[in-house]
Symmetry: C2
Subunit: 258 residues, 2 copies
Amino acid sequence: MSLKKPLILVTNDDGINAPGLRTLIKIMNTIGEVYVVAPDSPQSGMGHAITINDTLYCNKIKVAEHEPQTEYSCSGTPADCVKIAVNEILKRKPDLCVSGINHGSNSSINVIYSGTMSAAVEAGTQGIPSIGFSLLDYSLDADFEPSEKHIKNIVTQYLEKGLQKGVVLNVNIPKLPEQEIKGIKVCRQAKGYWAEEFDKRTNPLGRDYYWLTGKFVNEDQGEDTDEWALENGYVSVVPVQFDLTAHHVIKDINTWEL
Amino acid sequence: MSLKKPLILVTNDDGINAPGLRTLIKIMNTIGEVYVVAPDSPQSGMGHAITINDTLYCNKIKVAEHEPQTEYSCSGTPADCVKIAVNEILKRKPDLCVSGINHGSNSSINVIYSGTMSAAVEAGTQGIPSIGFSLLDYSLDADFEPSEKHIKNIVTQYLEKGLQKGVVLNVNIPKLPEQEIKGIKVCRQAKGYWAEEFDKRTNPLGRDYYWLTGKFVNEDQGEDTDEWALENGYVSVVPVQFDLTAHHVIKDINTWEL
């Protein structure tokens, strides 16, 4: 790490007031100069949505009087927050973008629905080293303390060692007391999907509507996956890329009569 | 292809009334039994957003009196449309899901922002063969006719030959007259990103706001990419997977002191 303090962009998808974001800011304040640009309202499940048919508002705010970070609240999605931070707010390209700590898992296939990870991926497309952090606890009063030393460890190593351009990290932390977390495992994304169950109801006007519910199905028995790591008490670290090409399939399609 | 007509789910992100969707329905009616479940309003740039904090409405409608397809208009995102179609509307798992024809490109990095491709990927996570189609013309009165025979060709080959589970296709079609389209190329996703430029304005109440604009930067000089194919008059076909793991980087991170 250079002697100069790294410039760190902090964002999330649970919104500027989420306790997970506050914990991440606290940790980052011990490492670098912190700018927060986060959604003004919860944006869970927003995937990589961006705002192209609407306006964006961005307000400088002071959430915590005695804390050193600079904060902005933004009307857009997590990906919008990163775009506007990098292009309009920060004085230079940040040395690191961290997103989270998400209230809830972003392991396995959840990476594609996750606003937290989309913010990290968006920073990655701009060439910025980037990490999304999630704790496997959906509750608003989740205990983020056991996560802290692991987050600091991963961020410090990332800043020291670096990673090739085009790769960001997806870090998930099990919901366990500090002494029960066994360590950190570098993993691949488990093969899984959501089996949906829609909760069908009738509104007071007699019109049917649905709530999306569902349960996650892990189809992957591998012991090198994020699901395995989390189930066995480890923090999972999955390197994530955004070249979605299934390179190994190109030769198969080239046998088609196109 | 079996003798039984394939069951085809058609969706998009430009909304149920978009001309691109109408063209895709027309082509699919020549191939199989068609169910349309599409957003009731434009959902461009929605990425893989899903609706988890709001209700979903879904109405059976009749858009074109003398056409054979069954149609539903849904209040959700493209990914929601696929989930609700598969779980609540269709009598069985469809043999194919097609999304589009999008008004505008989904090549290169656009795949991660695209509602069109997210619908296709969502179907893919459910084990359904799936293709997203996009025409490189944003205008509402784009000419979809030159696309038709290529779409029919690709869909027919896909149904006949099949592809391994976990892979869907991202098809982009250049904006060219029929005789100038040179053919179809199977490609990888070009490395590119969006260099954003925010258009800052002041509203009538004196408050600043932004419009997201920007220009696409292609950093990739390869001649095996979708960008190259499209610039050179070919339809591009990129096989897309949703295991985002950067497998080749796992060994690098394992050298960190974690």
